[in-house]
Amino acid sequence: MEEKLKAQKPNPNPNPKTNTAKKKKKKSEYEFCKVCNLNHDQGQRHKYFPSHKSSLSNFLSRFQTKLSDVRFFLKNPSPLRPELASKNRFWCVFCDSDIDEIGSSFACYNAINHLASADHLKNLKHFLWKYGGGMDRVDAFRIWEADVAKWEKKCISLKSDAVSSSQGAIGPEIGPLNDIHNENNYGNIDNFENSSIQSVKSSLSNGVMPLQYYTNEYQVSHSGLYEATNVGMFAHDFGSFLPAETCSDTNLWNLKDIRVNRNSQHSFPYNSYSSADGSFSNGRMFQVHEDEGIVKGESSSHGLQNLARISTLAPEEARGNVHTGAPPPWLEATEASQIDAPLKPAAGSLVPLNKSGKSKKLNPKRVGAAWAEKRKIELEMEKRGEIVKNDCDANWLPNFGRVWQSGSRKESRKEFEMEKQKLLKLGSQSEIPIEIQPYVSKRMRTEAGE
């Protein structure tokens, strides 16, 4: 029986064994596993092997990250410049095809349409069947048609708004693609988005480090919220950031004069820095009120808003902060009575939970419920003038260790307790404390002895 390399569908019925007497191993023809990137002759069993499973999860998660970028653009359609289109390629692993964006007017236009297509779905299902990804994950790798419809509507409205609003001077880029004011933006936007973390790091002049991870929503979200670190970049390093300069004049944020109508239904929290990210925005406009005392930018901003920056007084200390998971300052033992970390639910066990005054509406699973109950009791007691009981004394941790292979832990604890009692009775000098002496080697001792 010859074995040939096959790069196609596996033979569902592996050829029956001929000369081998092994019953368990059925020799099947070689197939190529796209996920593990190797040829194997294990047939249908291959997809259950742990190595394959781990490669599959890597494979899928890699693709997922790319998909999430596409999904971002699904939620926030943004126009795509023709010269950038060639960079926006998307390889669909299920269909084994490259999807480019040439000729598409919006970012990921073709990709979104592809991900919603029936062909893609078919290929996706086949892939999952073949490589054992779990059929319930189909939805993670496709886009629903309803979403596509919504996205298309948004695109259309964007386009129409771009046409209707002739003032390209607004911070958020809503202009059509041939808007010369915003022309320079796009080129740098994509570069910025692609190399954002590196560029932010390099351009930050101060000691502030940007967060190491990067939300998928880039720095623009439809609400115009802005990443704090990018604020610093704008404020202090205009030289490295062309769009800010080229468009700053045109995107002057003289908010008292300009009123832009908002596209979306919601009123999003407004970050005073959003004008800076306006050049990145995906077309959502921001409602500006004339009566709001919007503050114009200070210092080096060319009309862009500027958030005052706190200089870090001391260099980064080892104390840690919220990002590194240090203990919060308000729970530090100022009273030396609270030991628990914020997330310790065991504290609730110390508190009698059957309070009659417990509110019926309170959700028992809310954050910090245990803490809240405990603190309420403490506050009431304090009000009444009682001393808050400190129920965490030095002995709350078991501080005895015994050989406990024999007998139960209780016995060892009893032993410990008895010994402690004895110690207390006899005073602290009952035992001669063992003096710790530096190690003296035998040679030294013999030398000393001589």
Partner: protein, 138 residues
């Protein structure tokens, strides 16, 4: 400017107290200084909405120029002001605002309603027994 409506905290102990003793309400702490224009804008919004959210939130301003507060400035890694930090039952509440920093909100709010919306995100899932609203919370 609006500090006659909102308490201004300058001591660490005051901040500790407000975080620890506010039970089942969201303490909203604005870290900034009263002379900064963007802080003023935010304070304006906060003071206007403080009464509306008073059932489930308590708003306070923290002066970052105070020495004792520097512990908090370092802990929360506050580099831009105003920065607003939210808590609930002595837990620091993080939320995905759409920016990379989930631990605090940097900048001002545009409208009162925006601020109220944000606070409601923190509070709603705690009051109700379903956690769908807490999808934004981290």
């Amino acid at each position: 400017m609006s500090s006659y409506l909102l308490t201004v905290l300058t001591k660490k102990q005051e901040v500790d107290t407000i975080i620890r003793d506010t039970i089942d309400k969201v303490p909203v702490l604005r870290f900034g200084r009263a002379s900064d224009p963007v802080c003023l804008q935010l304070d304006n919004v906060l003071s206007k909405s403080a009464r509306e959210v008073s059932k489930f939130a308590s708003v306070a301003l923290v002066d970052i120029d105070s020495n004792e507060i520097q512990v908090y400035v370092k802990y929360f890694d506050i580099t831009f002001i105003p920065s607003t930090v939210f808590f609930f039952n002595a837990h620091h509440m993080k939320m995905d605002f759409g920016t990379a920093d989930h631990t605090k909100w940097v900048g001002a709010f545009h409208k009162k309603q925006d601020f109220v919306d944000v606070v409601e995100v923190y509070v709603a899932p705690q009051k109700l027994n379903d956690f769908k609203a807490s999808a934004l919370l981290l």
